[in-house]
Assembly symmetry: C2
Homo-oligomer: 340 residues x 2
């Protein structure tokens, strides 16, 4: 079946290069364990509402990624974007005003990986030479939508995660273009996940709801490509946090597989004990800003040669939770490699 | 740039065949101007909430499309799905339980075209032989989310549209597979739209907000492919309704272009005068059910040989409207042809 390896894995025949990337976050994220292109001094980004602030943050991340790519903005033909707000308004108003084809996505916190896969697919299919993937989340727009009014100051359970105020953007470019240098980072494989629901109903434990989806997608990718975890310098999920991350490693443990080189964006971004973020970070912007602020930078510096970036999403809403539904998870994975 | 024609138009090199399609709607839609695979006797589809009903309707449309394709369900590798509910729960819970890779989309009422384009791209890129696109809307889940509680019985303005309770599903299949007949309907071209915002703020006039996006995408497609409206047997937007449709034809009129073969899914589905639907139908399920219940059937019967199906979306939410924002529109277009 063409460019498919095994049952689940997509193989890119073209060289899909990462031409630029950037992460922009709020203040708390900048005070955590990682550094980003910019961490704003407050969460409003010069706007009057949290939703408009999220759009502004997304605009800035995309602007910075384009600038760092060295490509003119008009080269970017298509942008794949999505976020957590109802009807994805952070993305629609974030992208509005640009001359880019708009593919709106909803993958919950898996959106960065979904966007990368679709942006890469546009290039693979020969439909564009340059595409972009961008996503965001904002603690305040998410909190008041999913949980309580911010002023209420609701207590959080130990398994709850802290929605990251952050946005990440990646510019993809077809490699081998005349007159351009070879960019070292590129996307080689990917896997689109299936919806996986183990019946978790606790909306304060998204990690547990998403862990089985992460296990399923990554196990499929490893089987298809006949690789072991040790063949990757890093396998990173985003964002299972402490609780979901432990379930995820347990599931591989039951298969007799030890994940020695595993980490999770939700665990990496905050210093949870110091910053009171309980089980870790979450939100589309969590894995996106860790990818674009930390992982890709470190790959460029030579720390890792090949990683699996597997973003996880919980496909629920306040309405579905209120109607007693469980929380379906999904996980999309992308293999990113460094090399000529 | 590979398979791109002009600036905006994607050209499929492979033969992307429509292997199956089906539309399932509510009662009112079945009493309108068109007939569908099934129009349920009530809007609940055996469920207890409108949102669960919408998921059930989506499941049924996909089941019927798969059955009509004659392909085993496990052949369908990837499904592109989206809807209007916050966090797209109608789709997530509609697809849950199937062994299909899930690409969640949010394109508002443009979702059917967006899904078709991405499902076709999966085949074009060689990532799958068989994919699906499905979307839905439900009058009751939409009304209480966007407007008022249903029990309130709010008055509607003359420019308002009636959200269709309906779902459409299409199965795409790579043509030329050994042992299979040639399927006559196939997707040959497509255009992904750019976000277009003319500053319309009236949430009861979505047609006006979306018309400029439809004009922009279709004009681009015609220019790129050096075709005139008369080169198509039908150009169909979905869902501009009476008001948006008139603006759309006016915009072409200002270019000196007469659209003699133009219609709109929002105008086609209801008998507006008799059914009190004001400016026409709307919702992701409007263009999807008109496509899958009427347009594709009539193409198969020989009524039209080549059509442009251009679904339009208003990328707003109750939150963005409440914050005084205008309504950005987007329109994605697909060229569908009949022939060996």
């Amino acid at each position: 079946m063409g460019n498919r390896v095994g049952k689940h894995t997509l193989k890119f025949e073209k060289r899909i290069e990462i031409a630029g990337f950037a992460a922009v976050t709020g203040k708390k994220e900048g005070e955590g364990r990682l550094k980003f292109d910019r961490s704003a001094p407050d969460g409003l980004f010069g706007e009057k509402t949290w939703e408009k602030a999220e759009s502004a943050m997304q605009r800035e991340a995309l602007d910075r990624a384009i600038e760092k790519s060295g490509l003119p903005e008009q080269e970017v033909r298509t942008v794949c974007a999505g976020d957590l707000t109802g009807q994805c308004i952070a993305s629609a108003f974030g992208i509005r005003g640009r001359s880019m084809e708009y593919l709106g996505l909803y993958g919950a916190c898996s959106t960065m990986a979904e966007g990368l896969i679709l942006a890469a697919m546009m290039v693979e299919a020969g439909f564009a030479d340059t595409t972009a993937a961008v996503t965001s989340s904002h603690f305040c727009s998410a909190e008041r939508q999913y949980r309580y009014p911010l002023e209420y100051g609701g207590q959080r359970t130990p398994t709850s995660q802290w929605t990251v105020t952050g946005s990440g953007a990646v510019i993809l470019r077809k490699g081998g273009t005349d007159g351009e240098p070879v960019r070292t980072l590129h996307i080689t494989r990917a896997a689109v996940g299936e919806i996986t629901d183990y019946g978790i109903r606790d909306v304060n434990n998204m990690g547990a709801a998403m862990a089985p989806a992460a296990y399923r997608t990554i196990r499929g990718l490893l089987e298809d490509t006949k690789t072991a975890p040790a063949d990757y310098d890093l396998i990173v999920t985003g964002d299972l946090g402490n609780v979901g991350g432990a379930i995820f490693t347990d599931m591989f443990g039951e298969d007799g597989v030890r994940l020695s080189n595993y980490d999770d964006c939700g665990k990496m971004i905050f210093d949870s004990a110091r910053q009171d973020t309980h089980a870790g970070g979450s939100g589309c912007g969590c894995s996106a800003s860790v990818l674009c602020g930390y992982l890709l930078n470190e790959m460029q510096r030579g720390k890792w040669k090949r990683i699996i970036f597997a973003a996880t999403g919980a496909l629920m809403s306040p309405v579905s939770a209120g109607q007693g539904e469980s929380i379906p998870g999904v996980c999309h994975a992308v293999v990113i490699e460094r090399g000529e």
